[in-house]
Amino acid sequence: MNRVTTIRLIAGREITERLRGRATWILTGITTVVAVLLIVGPAVLRQPARTSVVGLVGPSAQALAPALEATAKAAGVDLTTMDVADDATAQSELTPKQPSGRGLRQSGGLFSSATATLDAALKLDTGSATIEFYQTISPSMAAVLRAVVQQAHQRDVLTQAGVSASAVAAAQQPEPIHTVTLQPAPSDLAGRSIAALAAGILLYVSVGIFGNAVASGVAQEKTSRTAEVLLGAVTPSELMTGKVIGIGLVGFGQMAITIGAALITNAVVQSSFVPSAVWVLLPAILLWFVLGYTLYAFGFAAAGAMVARQEEVQSVSAPFSVFLVGGFLLTYALIASPNAPWVKIVSYLPPLMPVMMPARLALGHVAVWEMPLAILIMLASIYWVARLAGRIYATSLVRGGARLSWRAALRSR
């Protein structure tokens, strides 16, 4: 029997047994539901965009309506005006009221709160102006209102000083200002940040779960002495490789189901929270799962072979878990400063790469040449880790007695 057939048999057993287990399906169900909810949730929960309404109290304020709407339009503020008879009415309309007799959609969504008719009110008195609002006012709306009041005041003063109306109008005509953006921010920056974090979580969790599954499986074969029986028919490297491939394929399938469900959901919902690069990002997550899992799985296999008891798996494989958690935590730093040189350098460290590279990709900060370079570094790392792990695995798997330390395992031949 050749090596490929043997590895296929071992991997096949892993796949069959894991697909028969309830845990695999429960985990797949949970990750898929979470991914779908992450896409559907914001679309369901978001408040629809609404035009702000400013109440103009009294004739003098109402005379400013055209200027107010023009200024707001120029400033990019979605605003309209409403004439209000008196201050009491304005205050009543500024106070939020629970919606009644309207459909959920009309009232602003499934979880809408009480709403008010007016967002702000403007009242002009002789020599002063009053802006009223319920609790808060958006800075842009406040700026528009102040600018319009200021313009009206200037016009009155200049007119009284004998300046012609056309000259006043010309003076108040704003100078065109051009803006130049040196590094345009992605239009979906918020979505990309969330996607980076989600990619980090997904890869950290999945590589950790399936890596630990490898360690537990190897430890079980060792402590139950099944490895002794198996080694009569297969070599240690065939046994380790078959297990890593088998569990990896189950993990890949699970990830593919989750990501497939996410893509389909996004196509249906068309959530504005999901970045437009999702079609590149999600396959990239799958690719980095394969690379990251393979790198870690060999290490976890060596760790599993070193234990004397099944309960020791967690402590022996702790170094790998620390790297995975570290990679995930650094994703936050990556989101905060995606262009920092140290972030780029750290993202090339092989143990951190599987979590950080997809996060960088999600943020749109990976140059075209970086991805092939990162993949090459990972493939080289996998080769060396597999060789080292294979040596530890072969010598530790049938070794009795107390648990081996990493130092002792590396020294053993």
């Binding site: 029997m1 048999l9 069959t16 002495r225 198996l230 028919a233």
Partner: protein, 294 residues
């Protein structure tokens, strides 16, 4: 034929096997006996390639044992070596496939051994759900399903009830009729005596004695037990006789060449009423005690 020659294995400072040599022919059952730590399991693991011996050689049919040979060896470790959560039928068929049996045939053979070993109805049960005895049967099926040329069985009878012991003994005898060589270890000396064609007694990694039961018996001096109702002091009058033990059941004398047993009987009758006078067989238990315990 399995030939182990000058096998040497050490773990740290402890020598587990010290220049051990033995052979197992096709169609022959060889029993390894010895106290815990005598080197039985280490020898078997070396045969199965689990350890690379420091020195010595293990040969099969005249050449050094390699993986292709081991695919034709069946192994049953001292502690069970099965996947606890795997179904019985799948488990046996899986090991058959690993040993080169094609899938359909592996399933057929697995089912055949399930029936043969009295596990019918348990095919779809997980191994962990079986009793100790039934797990032992599954382990045996795993070792036998690909019709091995050599069976290496470490304590295969441990913890089995008498009927299971009988059924396993029958299976081993049937396998030897097929030409299979069997090397097995056991602490149940009566069983070894009954089942084995040849016996190897180990202690501290060395072979203390080996041969057929008759050959081994011949190495034990015959013993003469005499019980006189009133006294054991009469033996003081015996000249040139070695007294092995004295206890309430009488005295035990080493029977040596030229010893006049009739003279012993006469002296005993003169001392009082002789309740027992007879030779004790030099069985394996006695030989073992004499070689290992004493």
């Amino acid at each position: 034929m399995l030939e182990i020659s000058e096998l040497y294995q050490r773990f740290g400072d402890r020598v587990a096997v010290d220049k051990l040599s033995l052979a197992v022919n096709g169609g022959e059952i060889v029993g390894l006996v010895g106290r815990n730590g005598a080197g039985k399991t280490t020898t078997m693991r070396a045969v199965m390639g689990i350890y690379e011996p420091i020195a010595g050689s293990i040969r099969w049919s005249g050449h050094a044992v390699g993986l292709p040979d081991r695919l034709r060896f069946g192994y049953m470790p001292e502690e069970r070596g099965l996947y606890p959560q795997m179904r019985v039928l799948d488990q046996i068929a899986y090991f058959a496939q690993l040993h080169g049996v094609e899938r359909p045939s592996a399933t057929t053979q697995a089912q055949r051994w399930i029936t043969k070993l009295g596990l019918d109805g348990r095919q779809l049960d997980r191994v962990v759900a079986l009793s100790h005895g039934n797990q032992q049967r599954v382990q045996l099926a795993v070792a036998l399903v690909y019709q091995p040329d050599l069976l290496v069985l470490d304590e295969p009878f441990a913890g089995l009830d008498p009927s299971a012991v009988d059924s396993l003994s029958d299976v081993l005898r049937a396998e030897t009729k097929r030409g299979t060589a069997v090397l097995f270890s056991s602490h149940q000396l009566d069983l070894v005596e009954r089942l084995c064609d040849r016996i190897v007694i180990l202690d501290q990694g060395r072979v203390l004695a080996s041969g057929t039961l008759d050959e081994l018996r011949a190495r034990v001096p015959q013993r003469l037990r005499v019980k006189v109702a009133t006294s054991t002091d009469w033996v003081a009058n015996l000249k040139g006789v070695v007294v092995l033990t004295k206890d309430p059941e009488g005295v035990v004398l080493a029977v040596t060449t030229g010893m006049d047993t009739q003279a012993v009987l006469r002296l005993a009758m003169e001392a009082g009423h002789v309740e027992f006078f007879g030779f004790e067989s030099g069985g394996l238990v006695e030989l073992y005690r004499q070689l290992v315990v004493d």
